[in-house]
Amino acid sequence: ELKVEQNPLFLSMQEGKNYTIYCNYSTTSDRLYWYRQDPGKSLESLFVLLSNGAVKQEGRLMASLDTKARLSTLHITAAVHDLSATYFCAVDDRTSNYQLIWGAGTKLIIKP
């Protein structure tokens, strides 16, 4: 059974700092997705990582995928308050009709 673990689950940080959220998964998959959810809102797709070594960047966020280590990272550079949200990673489960298996989410609070 494919499992996806995110850590940390909660992160409080100061503006201007750098930090990384980790997403580990338990079986072979080469497709990983990152989403953002603001409080009371729905999920928004951030990044789609489709192969080993894939790196995507959008503003202060950068995501990468290492399929051999079964690890994806979401790196935040010089955090700003607007990035406060809950971030989810999800992995394709090819044994289950390509359902997405979701991590529990990382709640990120960035203090001014």
Partner: protein, 113 residues
């Protein structure tokens, strides 16, 4: 841009009522999904559909049914609502199973009294 819409943002129903939640996507996506999201439990898949009139159970289908009569529309039905079905319901769609970037609707917050 892909647009996924849901029929209601907020809904209050009474125990035992039949509840319909509707979802429409406008990008000709093959796959559609219904999730529920509860604090501390994350996202849980209720049902999904990979074609018109086709459906598959997700992780928590009990107490729910679905209907997909047209490609763009996927309905979630609570046959007899119960208080433990109070939750945020999220609909999503994706182009195909082989490209599973899912686009979400705004969500329906359902309260069952």
């Amino acid at each position: 841009d892909v647009k996924v819409t849901q029929s209601s943002r907020y809904l209050v129903k009474r125990t035992g009522e039949k509840v319909f939640l509707e979802c429409v996507q406008d990008m000709d996506h093959e796959n559609m999904f219904w999730y529920r999201q509860d604090p501390g439990l994350g996202l849980r898949l209720i049902y999904f559909s990979y074609d018109v009139k086709m459906k598959e159970k997700g992780d928590i289908p009990e107490g729910y049914s679905v209907s997909r009569e047209k490609k763009e529309r996927f309905s979630l039905i609570l046959e007899s609502a119960s208080t433990n079905q109070t939750s945020m319901y999220l609909c999503a769609s994706c182009r195909t199973a082989s490209y599973n970037e899912q686009f979400f609707g705004p969500g329906t917050r359902l309260t069952v009294l």
